[in-house]
């Protein structure tokens, strides 16, 4: 162990996580094999809405290797409560009963009706075909506007409506602002439904604990701590006897931030059968059984002066809940409701969101969770506003930016942004992209009537992350507990254990928390072991999502390490027979001010603390400190992006040629890791803008039911990213850091779509809904032909088919 500590925070320390991952030695949930383990598989409904009139499992039960078949009758009584929704957005929100297995009625394609337990996966899969289920089809509703009509089929008969809730937010006086506004722009945007598609599907193993009668649940989850308490509660297991382990997890993006039927079933089955049980999801199953993202119809109206200065903004959303409410389903769009004002300084804002039930898989958090939707809405309408008042897109943004600030500042949505400097980010990205060169190239292509046009699209965005101040969680109906916990302990040898309540699944917390602890304690990152993901090893935590881990969890590590140094100082003072105030700590060494020869290393102090024989009067042995950090505010990273696309006007093909991003998340702990988060985030945003869409037909069948049809872009489809930063610390925490995990996904979709529309502006196209598929681009160009190019009216009649509007004869939508 070295005593020469250096500064690690801010450096690109190579990841400690990598060795297991590049050698194939990681422990994914599906790698877990326990003695006597059985496999279970779920029989899922092949239709979107139907009564279950009979289930006959006798043939399946007779198959060799099949140990049991259960239905709702068997399972639901073993549950203390159903699968919960934890976000009560309004008092009168309709919260349907949601059990692991559907009892009388299936309400979406893939709704589980029975479970087979067998000796191995292949037998279990075969057995599913021998369970006979009689269904009586019920009418299906898949489109929100249909679902809200009085004659619509009801997803949940008992509510008498498909409206889950209406959630309003209003500040200022929008009506007044709009009354005499010289300019009003009105737009409708579709946020299409997405399938999160982490490359690892879900999996769970539940193992009965023979000693305490409880269970260990290994599951591909982002939230072992939340899962521990919720699973314990709903399965009727005492909380202290439930252990949840997130082994290595292959991506989450919010899709593994949930309480799933299969996890509850695993516990119930393990209890019933007294053996470990495992379930592994197949991809086509994942597309039905794992939560979906986004799915909103957005109606926006913006009022402005004739110079384009915003006077007011009205937003109305319809948000598709799907058939049930998973843990955060109703709150995702309302959370985004705070962010439609974006990076713009104005006063009058109104927002209303209606959550709507449909016969589809439930939606919930997917990278950005409400904020990409908001950033898209405002950044798209800003381009429309720019066109309306005849101002360049970068200029209209500048005219409305906040002046830079570094103290909490009230927004039109009534929250407080923490620190901003949009001007700095925009200036930097314009230079990074050689903006003038791009416009020159664009002009050349226009003059030449080049069939491939160049598009330059902007996005200046912010987002709300670093969940969360507990008080705010309580205020919005989430209860509380937004803190994050850390323990930092010095071992007798002077090495360090950091226990964190965050649950990394690719974000590099082990490396980053090592850097943070190393700097505070004067050790090297290799001296630090970061423990996470297992509730037996990390008993306290609120896990990883919402770009919270660094700003809440990393800060907790920093604070706990600081407490260690504080206590160590007292011990050092005692050992050096000096006053505590005279002790200095640098490079891992405590010394007496002015007498550097009088010193003692942190390692020696740690050893002393362990031995407990030479400590100050009344001091307990050991050098281990906890911190539970409850952030006073969210953090608000921001940035300016430029997306450059080439649009082939003859085929509609869109190629993202370049992407320039200047992002500001405050001081950087590990620039390589931070950049990696931005790369991945932007790629997912581009994927939404240009490729992905979960398409349902009118019978509620998922047409894009596999990775053949649901398009995740590969390396040829994604451009090289050119990144830069500005650094504007946040006043929300002692490190001044902001989250960055979702920012790329939030900033990029509007940049991409703005770019495509920019490319086609001389063709009279003013909007295309995502994804900008060749078919939709080409259709938009055709529809705009003959109309007066460049005018506001050019695309009104030619608005291409919306995902929720048009179904062709073959039952597929959104061509």
């Amino acid at each position: 162990m070295t005593e020469q500590a250096q500064k690690y925070v801010g450096g690109g320390v190579p990841r400690k996580e990598d060795p297991a991952l590049v050698t194939g030695k990681a422990t994914w949930t599906d790698n877990i094999k326990l003695p006597g383990m059985l496999h279970f598989a779920l029989l899922r409904s092949p239709m979107a809405h139907a009564k279950i009139t009979n289930i006959d499992a006798s043939e399946a039960l007779a198959m060799p290797g099949v140990q049991a078949v259960y239905t709702a009758e068997d399972i639901n009584n073993d549950m203390a409560a159903g699968l919960p929704c934890a976000w009560l957005v309004t008092e009168d929100m309709k919260s349907p009963v949601h059990q692991p297995l559907a009892k009388d009625e299936v309400k979406h394609l893939g709704d589980a009706v029975a479970v087979v337990v067998a000796d191995d996966r292949y037998v279990a899969k075969d057995a599913l075909e021998y369970i006979d289920v009689d269904y009586e089809e019920l009418p299906v509703v898949t489109k929100m506007e249909d679902a809200l009509k009085s004659d619509s089929p009801l997803v949940h008969e008992e509510f008498g409506t498909n409206e889950c809730y209406t959630w309003p937010l209003a500040t200022g006086d929008v009506d007044e602002a709009f009354k005499n506004a010289p300019v009003i722009v009105k737009e409708r945007y579709i946020q299409q439904r997405l399938l999160p598609t982490a490359i690892e599907c879900r999996a769970v193993v539940a193992n009965p604990d023979p000693v305490n009668g409880g269970f260990t649940v290994y599951t591909a989850t982002q939230i072992p701590h939340i899962l521990k308490s919720v699973l314990a509660g709903i399965c009727g297991v005492p909380e202290q006897k439930m252990r949840v382990v997130a082994p290595d997890v292959g991506g989450g993006f919010g899709s593994k931030l949930n309480i799933y039927a299969e996890e509850a079933l695993a516990v119930v089955l393990a209890r019933k059968l007294g053996v470990p049980v495992k379930w592994v999801e197949e991809r086509s199953e994942n597309y039905l059984a794992t939560i979906h993202g986004r799915d909103q119809i957005q109606d926006l109206e913006i009022a402005a002066t004739s110079e384009g200065k915003i006077l007011g903004l009205k937003v109305k959303l319809l948000a598709d809940m799907g058939a049930y409410l998973q843990i955060f389903t109703p709150g995702i769009p309302t959370f985004g409701g705070f962010m439609f004002p974006g990076v713009y300084d104005f006063e009058n804002y109104s927002f209303e969101c209606k959550g709507v039930f449909t016969n589809k898989t439930p939606t919930d958090a997917y990278r950005g969770a409400g904020r990409p939707e908001a950033a898209y809405g405002i950044e798209r309408i800003m381009d429309s506003l720019a066109r309306e008042v005849g101002v360049a897109p970068e200029e209209i943004r500048r005219r409305n930016f906040y002046e830079p600030f570094d103290e909490p500042t009230e927004t039109p949505a009534g929250i407080q942004y923490d620190s901003f400097n949009l001007q700095g980010a925009l200036d930097k990205v314009l230079e990074l992209a050689d903006y003038e060169g791009l416009r020159a190239e664009q002009k050349r292509r226009r003059d030449d009537n080049d069939p491939v046009q160049l598009g330059i699209g902007f996005s200046t965005y912010t987002e709300i992350c670093g969940l969360a101040p507990s008080q705010v969680l309580a205020a919005v109906g989430l209860g509380g507990a937004g803190w994050e916990a850390a323990t930092v302990r010095m071992l007798a040898s002077g090495t360090v254990e950091v226990v964190t309540g965050t649950t990394p699944h690719g974000q590099g917390h082990v490396t980053s928390w090592s850097q943070i602890a190393a700097d505070v304690l004067g050790v090297t990152p290799d001296d630090v072991e970061v423990l996470h993901g297992d509730t037996a090893i990390s008993p306290l935590g609120r896990d990883t999502y919402g770009s919270r881990s660094l700003t809440v969890g990393g800060v907790a590590v920093h604070l706990a390490a600081g407490k260690v140094v504080e206590k160590a100082k007292k011990i050092a003072a005692h050992m050096l027979e000096a006053a505590e105030d005279d002790i200095e700590f640098e490079n891992g060494t405590f010394s007496v001010a002015g007498s550097p020869d009088q010193n003692v290393s942190m390692a020696t102090v740690a050893g002393e603390a362990f031995l407990g024989i030479n400590l100050p009067e009344g001091m307990e042995p050991n050098l281990t400190e906890d911190s539970s950090f409850d952030p006073p505010n969210f953090t608000y990273p921001f940035g300016a992006h430029i997306c450059v696309t080439e649009v082939d006007t003859e085929t509609g093909f869109v190629k993202v040629r370049d992407y320039f991003a200047v992002d500001d998340c405050g001081p950087i702990i590990n620039p390589i890791i931070a950049d990696g988060q931005i790369h991945g985030g932007i790629a997912q945003g581009l994927a939404q803008a240009i490729y992905e869409e979960a398409i349902y037909d009118e019978d509620g069948n998922l047409v894009t039911g596999s990775m053949l049809d649901y398009l995740i872009p590969g390396a040829p489809e994604i451009p090289h990213f050119t990144l830069d930063r500005t650094i504007t610390p946040s006043p929300s925490n002692p490190l001044g850091v902001k989250g960055i995990g979702e920012a790329g996904t939030i900033g990029s979709p509007p940049a991409a779509v703005n770019s495509v529309i920019d490319a086609l502006s001389t063709h009279g196209v003013t909007h295309i809904d995502m994804p900008t598929s060749p078919m939709k681009v080409w259709t938009a160009i055709q529809n705009a032909k003959g109309e007066r190019a460049g005018t506001r009216d050019a695309d009104r009649s030619g608005r291409p088919a919306q995902a929720t509007d048009n179904v062709d004869e073959k039952g597929s939508e959104s061509l």
Partner: protein
């Protein structure tokens, strides 16, 4: 049942298997090689990519019985005497992985690519990896890793 003899990561194994047993499951379930991963069911994602007789192949689209007599290499067989393969090193140094789930397949696909094209351009790298999807990295650092690996001798 069918008797097969397959060499995997330098070791030869003999087993009786069902004809329908997929190679990916033979590797994972029968041989206990957890470093080969499954990510989809339509041969799109490439997470299951291994080398068969030195060429990249999607082990989810091969039956174990088809691998009878063949030589398979997974990511677990790359390191020699504890020393990583240059591609493994490059992925680590270039931060070409985040969650790591697509990484074994990505590494094997890269080895195969560099065999066919020892000095690929950025475009050739991206196209050469068209059969391997990643959701975390946005491919930026994967491309960087492949470029770095191309600069070093590849066995």
């Amino acid at each position: 049942m069918r008797r097969i003899k397959v060499t995997v990561d330098g070791k030869t194994h003999e087993h009786e298997v069902e004809p329908r047993l997929l190679l990916i499951h033979y590797l994972r379930e029968v041989l206990g090689i957890g470093g080969a991963h499954s990510g989809c069911d339509t041969s799109n994602c490439g997470a299951c990519t291994i080398l068969m007789n030195g060429e990249s192949v999607k082990s989810c689209t091969v039956l174990a019985v088809q691998a009878d007599g063949e030589d398979i290499m997974t990511v677990q067989g790359l390191a020699k005497n504890g020393e990583w393969h240059p591609v493994q090193t490059a992925f680590h140094e270039a931060h070409g992985l985040q969650c790591g789930y697509c990484t074994p397949g990505m590494i094997m696909a890269t080895i195969s690519l560099l065999k066919e094209k020892p000095n690929p351009s950025e475009e050739e790298i991206r196209e050469g990896l068209e059969g391997n999807l990643c959701r975390c990295t946005g491919y930026e650092n994967i491309v960087k890793a492949v470029k770095q690996a191309a600069g070093s001798p590849v066995s």
